[in-house]
């Protein structure tokens, strides 16, 4: 996992946090859209926001484990592991 990828995911996490319960959260509470019977704000607060954060964590886990496998392989090939 490159430093840029890690930084990118950290920034996405920060943006979600700021939109979800940080200074920009009231702005989303005033969006006048709906999904069927469900208002945009309710959908964002209950489903979209939390799931976005979970997806960021999932991508991060995938990349870090991939990197760990590479490190383990390198250590084994040099006799270190």
């Amino acid at each position: 996992m490159t430093d840029n990828a890690r930084l990118g995911l950290d920034v996405v996490w920060l943006v979600i946090a700021v939109l979800y319960l940080g200074p920009l959260a009231p702005m989303l509470a005033n969006v006048n859209l709906s999904f069927g019977n469900v208002s945009f704000f309710a959908a964002w607060a209950v489903v979209i926001g939390p799931l976005l954060a979970i997806v960021v964590f999932g991508v991060n886990s995938y990349l870090r484990i991939k990197e760990d496998r590479t490190r383990t392989g390198q250590a084994a090939s040099t006799g270190g592991d």
Partner: protein, 512 residues
Amino acid sequence: MAFDPVLSSGIILAYLVVTLGIGIAGWRISPSKNMEDYLLADRAVHWFVGFFSTIASQFSALTLMGFVAFYFKFGISTFIAITGAYILFTSGTYYFIGPKVWKIGRKFGHITPSDTVREYYDSPLFGYIVAVGMILALIAYLEVQLMGVGILLKLGSGGVIPVTAGAAAITVVIAIYTWLGGMKSVAWVDTVQGVMLLGGAVIGGFVLLFTIGGGFGPAFSQIASQKPALLQVPGPAGVWNWVFIATFAIPVFLGWVYHPHMWMRLHYFKSGRAVENLPWVSGGIFWLTQIGGLAVVLTGALIIPDAPPDQFILLMFRNYFPTVAFALVASAALAAIMSSASSQCHGIGAVAARDVTEQIWPEWEESKHLMVARVTMLIGLLGAFFLSTLGIPFLVTSGAAAAAISTALIFPQVIAAVYGWEWPTREGAVAAGALGLITSLVFLLGWVSSPFGVWPGFWGLVVNVVAFVVVSSVTNSHPEKSTINEWQEAMQDSTVALDREHRENVVVSSDD
């Protein structure tokens, strides 16, 4: 539906017997050999057991009854402040520092949060302050669990099982399996309980939503037309505005992982890759259980609007499920309470032995420290039981306070240590931790009222951060360069290499 209290009581009692059996089996199959085994199951916990034990330890009386009570009373504002904040900050803590903490622990033998800060800042004093603060926080939190038992038995048995006697029996069951098997028994029992809780909350919630509430869309529409404030910020009571939400969410959900029983679960995984997966697994499962709880609120907020909030979910299940299904859900709620309580009293024992007696009397034989861990675990559990008989009005109060105290005590110090920051000093860490703890207690106990509409538990974190920066800038005892380098090097190792090195060291020391 007609509720049969005798049948329900029988199922709950049978569940208790099964729980005790699993706990004893965990001990019989592999009795604890030493401290590390008793406290961390020899750092060899399988990923599946590890995930569910971690999650079940966090899911407590609050998860089904306390948090749902908040959604029922205050609406979507509290879903943001609890579920969203858990995912962003608690799972977020696993995301930012979880794998680093696992690697440092594997390399240097850490178990508790005190281990981390004591070693980085080379300060036994800070280790003791953190130990005392954590024990205080955990006893308050443990007491909440046992209060939840009272509510659950009252509704679950319809009065057949007397509340005090039932709570005493549950305390005894927890004490037996935690005393005997330590982390192994606790983790085994947690796994079964975690699966039950997840199933009970999600299946129970959705069955109610679709059979009684007509599904998500219709239920939302009804709430939007008849109780619109539940779907808006600041909610019906007008309390949960954005300032209050943020100042509640940040200290409470940043602090959850720093409780000793949760911190120890970062160290007990055999595979570091399981810790890498913990952020999305913990966030995903928490979200699912809370969606189940919210489904019950959407269904029942208009049906029983005057229900006592912390009894609401159980009343809904009892009113609409057959007795057997209700009793299984009630057992799942009991599972949530027992898994947290056993983990918390085990955490108290771990802190007492690891952070107090091992530091003061390192020459003692290990069996003596092990006895300290067991006896303190028992004292903490019994103390919390007696405190719970005194009663507190609202279930979430002590749990949130306990988490906020942890944050105020240790949060910036741990982040600085794990990221290898050189600027903090020992004096800064100790002064900030102590001031953060005192400030938290002063505001949370109501001795000083919180200004600006801020949740009282937020001020401890603010004071800690400010004091940490200011005191560090005028003092000079920075962490040793060698410690910083060794920790950062450990974080660069592969998880497989670190685990192998740890196992080789364990074999060498047993040969000695």
